[in-house]
Each structure stands twice: as C-alpha cells, then as structure tokens.
C-alpha cells in the first residue's frame, strides 16, 4: 500500500467518533473530508484578507483579488489548462453543468437536435439536459451500460450522427467506479461536430487530469469532492467556446457596461461570474489543489487502485454479496457499490453506522442507472487519500454482523 497514512493527521474529523466508534469514513464519493490546511486557508482569509474582489481601490481589496485570481491560476494549472481564463468558478459541478446547458445549449439547440448521454450519468448530468430539451425541443438519447458495467459503445455509430449537438458523459461513475470512455466519445463527437461536456465530479479528484488529453470541450468539477470547501466548483472550457457562450446569470461583476435596456459582458471568465463570487471558497479550493499537488495525483491514483483492489478482494470473501462495477482496476475508481443478500442498503448502512462505518445507501442520484441495474438501492463504500486497509477491514466486520442480525448465519 502506497504510504499516505501520515496524511490522516491533517484531517481533524478522522479523530472523532460516530455512535461511539472511531469514524471510518467511506463516503468520499459523496463528499470528502477536509485537511486542516484547507480549513485554515478559509479562516485565515476571513481573519486577515476579507474584502470584495475586482472592485476595491484599496490595498485589502487588491490583496483579496490577487488571492482569488491566484486560486484560479492554481486550479487551471492542476488540470493543465492553457490559461486561467479558461476556468470559470461556479457553485459546484451541478452549477457548472447547468451553465453549459443554459449558456451553450439553450441558445443553440432546436427541434430535431439531439443530446447524447449515457445511462451511468448522475442526475446532475441528466436533469439540466432534460430542462434544455424541454425549452428547445431537442431530444435526449442514451448509450447503455454493458455486462461489465462499462459504457456500451457498440451502438455508438447509430446513436452519434449529425443530429447530435452535445455529448455529455461522466468521467467516472459515482456508483460503479467505471471510468468513462471520454476520449473515444470526444473523438467520435468531434467527427460529427458535436460539443463534448465531461462531468468530472469524480474524475478530477481521482485521476491525474490534463484537459488537453481529455479531449473534451467543457469539463465540470467541484471542490468538495477533492478536499475543498462546499459551495465552489469550476467549469473549464475551450477558450473559443467560452468566448461564444452566453452567461447564464446576470448581475454585478460580469458586465463591462450596463445601459438601461442592454448590457455588454465582461471578458471571459468574468462574464460567467455574476455577483460577488464565493471568494473564501475559491481560496479554499486553491488550498485543496495545492494539497493534492503535494501528495501528487499519481500517488492519489495508485493509492486508490491499491485500496480498491484490497476492498474488492475482501468483499469477495463475504457470502451473498454482489458488487456492481468493473473488476479490472485499470477501468475503475474507488466507488464500490454492493448488495448483500436480501438486506436493503439502508439496513446495511444502519448496521455499519453502529460500528462507526459511514457508507452511503440509496440511488446515489443515478436513478436511470439503478433502473438499468434493476436494484432500487445499493450500499456504496468509496475511498480517498486518507483511507487505510483497516477501514476496509472494519467494513467487512460490519457486513458479517449484518449477516448475523438478519439471520443469514
């Protein structure tokens, strides 16, 4: 196991207990815990630097602006964007996807146009497109999931023709861990002139990301799933598309002039950032990215491969347990969904809770996928840099106990 164990000391919450047991946090796909470096960056901002950005003619406001724009630069560097101006701050992944949906889709789609999705999308990469489809008359089309829990590309040729204007796909499933076929889809989409939107909510935190390699046109991701604060995320976009794209929200800071009946927008990225931005959160996001850079995204990835491999091994020992997701570690991240006999996921989560083990249970905001898998709910354990093998051991002990409580042993 690559040795990230020492990182645990940076996370104050890992020293707390849940229902009397040391917290074993296995819900990082939902939100990650925060290192003290991030928590302090936010507090320090409020204690020493707080002022509104882009507005002030005094030193404090200038320093706040420098810190805010510095965070943007760091995040741009983290995903190897060409320039900080390619990174728009949003409220989170969901907001970032909605921004593309409204700013790009609402203006350009019409009757007869299509939006291509996959069955493994999170609701945040489904519902915005449904809304835009309703407003514009465009149609949604889905790629299915194959037996090995991967996006099924056999129908791609028939599904992806000139009618498709937008392809929206997840870089990594939050339910099955499956890594999305982003590069293949991007190449095929570009061949028919479609624009590719990648939901990077799970991908960016877990895989080294270079937007040049990804091949997408837009990439949405959020801070709170990568050690950062809630309330902040980002949309990366190709500069020429961002130039063309309309802002979704109007307000202060995003204009270069406001007349009574019309306005001119500020340059990219500011035209997309109406109102006072989430300043402290952007700075916290920058601190999170700095933390991840210090750990190294290669190390993050290999730690995750190892602990996921260990988890799959240990779970295979539990009788009557079915895992939904690829077996091949190179095709997946650390979100592991499972079902134990006839025990409902919630009941399983309650038993585990009683042992201090936090797993998620439910539809994971992926109802289309759950219907496809024909399960109403799954339990899900998911990992991040601070998880260790003992966490998996505790999980397995809890599962054994569940089997006892439910009379399966």
């Amino acid at each position: 196991m690559s040795d990230l164990r020492h990182l645990r000391d940076d996370f104050p919450i890992l020293a707390t207990t849940m229902r009397g047991h040391p917290l074993v946090y296995l819900d990082s796909a939902s939100t990650t815990q925060k290192p003290i470096q991030v928590i302090d960056a936010v507090s320090e901002y409020y204690k020493t630097l707080n002022a509104n950005v882009h507005r002030g003619a005094y030193t404090l406001a200038d320093e706040a602006t420098t810190a805010y724009e510095g965070a943007r630069r760091r995040i741009a560097g983290f995903i190897k964007a060409g320039s900080p101006a390619e990174v728009v701050f949003t409220r989170g992944t969901t907001s970032a996807i909605n921004l593309v949906a409204y700013g790009w889709g609402l203006e350009r789609l019409g009757e007869g146009d299509r939006i291509l999705l996959t069955l493994m999308e999170h609701h945040s990469n489904v519902v915005p497109w449904q809304i835009i489809a309703r407003h514009t008359g465009a149609e949604l089309v889905y790629l299915s999931i194959d037996e090995d829990y991967r996006v099924d590309l056999t129908d791609l040729e028939s599904a992806l023709d000139e009618r498709v204007k937008i392809v929206a796909v997840s870089g990594m499933s939050n339910v099955m861990g499956t890594i999305g076929p982003v590069q293949d889809l991007a190449a095929a989409a570009h061949a028919v002139g479609a624009v590719v939107v990648v939901d990077g909510a799970q991908m960016v935190p877990h895989l080294p990301t270079d937007v040049g390699d990804v091949g997408a046109d837009f990439l949405a991701f959020g801070a709170h799933k990568m050690l950062g604060p809630t309330g902040i995320g980002a949309l990366w976009g190709r500069p020429e598309l961002l130039e063309e794209m309309e802002p979704a929200e109007g307000g202060g800071e995003m204009i270069s002039d406001v007349q009574l009946y019309e306005s001119r927008w500020a340059p990219v990225p500011h035209k997309f950032e109406a109102g006072t931005p989430p300043i402290a959160q952007a700075i916290g996001f920058g601190a999170a990215v700095e933390y991840l850079e210090k750990v190294g995204m290669e190390a993050v990835r290999s730690h995750e491969v190892e602990i996921t491999g260990y988890a799959l091994e240990r779970l295979a020992e539990v009788p009557d347990l079915e895992v939904y997701g690829p077996r091949d570690l190179s095709e997946r991240g650390g979100a592991v969904s499972f079902q134990l006999a006839d025990i409902h996921a919630h009941d399983l989560a309650t038993v585990l809770d009683e042992f201090g083990v936090a797993v998620r249970a439910g539809h994971h905001c992926a109802k289309p996928l759950m219907r496809h898998l024909a399960v109403p709910a799954t339990a899900r354990a998911s990992f991040y840099v601070y998880n260790v093998e003992e966490d998996v051991d505790r999980l397995v002990e809890g599962l054994e106990e569940a089997r006892r409580v439910f009379g399966l042993v």
Partner: protein, 148 residues
C-alpha cells in the same frame, strides 16, 4: 445490543413476508408516499365503508423498517373505525418521537393500542431511520384525508 432491538424477528418477518401485499379491486382510496432522500416508496389502497376500513392493500420498495411498518400497519387498521385509525396513527407517531418515555399511548386518545407495532420501538434509538417507519403512516394520513 441496539441492533437486535431494531431488527427484531417480527420486523424481519414482516419485511420478508409482507401482509396484504397487492392492490384492491373495486371502490377504494389510493395514496402514495416517498422518502426522496432514500428512495423508499410505499403505496396504499383502502376500502372504506360506513366509517370503517374494511380492506387494505399495500405495495412498496424500501428498507425493512419502512416495509415492515407498512405491513404491520395494514394488518392493524383493517376492521377499525376511522377515528380509531386516527388515534392509532397519533399514538404510533408519538411512540416514534418519544425516545426515553415509558408509555407510547396518549392517555387522552386511548382509542387504539399499538400491539405488534410496539416492535418498532427500537427504531427510536436510530433517529436516521424514524422517517422510514413513518412513511406508511404519512401515506395513510394522505389516504384518510381523501375520505369524504
């Protein structure tokens, strides 16, 4: 331990073998409930005659607590007068909200005793799950509100 108090045998039995599962034919009231945060679903058909529940059928997807609660509820309400059912609902929800109290039956509304339903007392130690136990009863309230 608390888990064994929660998952008593009678609850697992109702979960695995829900009573009155299905739908009603003929004249009946229908209501559906959902816990959006966890996805549990519950639907209820009620046949009411002369102020009395004469038949009930349930369907649902969800955890053992919500489904067992629904199954036990369906058993408990058939044959009861509507005001008795209202009191029963009241007392059930009271039980769910009292964590350390002794007697879950409101002395002012003694119309119904909980009987088997008291097996769900263990849920009170698991605040996260109370809404599961409540789901069928909220659906029942919705159905009753449709009665003339």
């Amino acid at each position: 331990m608390a888990l064994d108090e929660l998952y008593r045998e009678v609850i697992l039995d109702h979960y695995r073998n829900p009573r009155r599962k299905g739908v009603l034919e003929g004249d009946h009231i229908h209501a559906e409930g959902q816990n959006p945060s966890c996805g549990d679903e519950f639907s209820l058909d009620l046949a009411v005659e002369d102020g009395k529940i004469v038949d009930a059928a349930i369907q649902g997807i969800g955890c053992s607590i919500s489904q067992a609660s629904g199954s036990m509820m369906a058993e408990a309400i058939v044959g009861k007068a509507l005001d008795e059912v209202t009191d029963l609902t009241h007392n059930f929800k009271l039980m769910m909200s009292i964590v350390d109290g002794e007697n879950p039956v409101d002395p002012d509304r003694p119309g119904s005793v909980l009987g088997d339903l008291e097996a769900l007392q263990g849920v009170r130690r698991f605040p996260v799950r109370i809404k599961c136990a409540d789901l069928p009863w909220t659906t029942l309230e919705d159905a009753l509100s449709q009665v003339g």
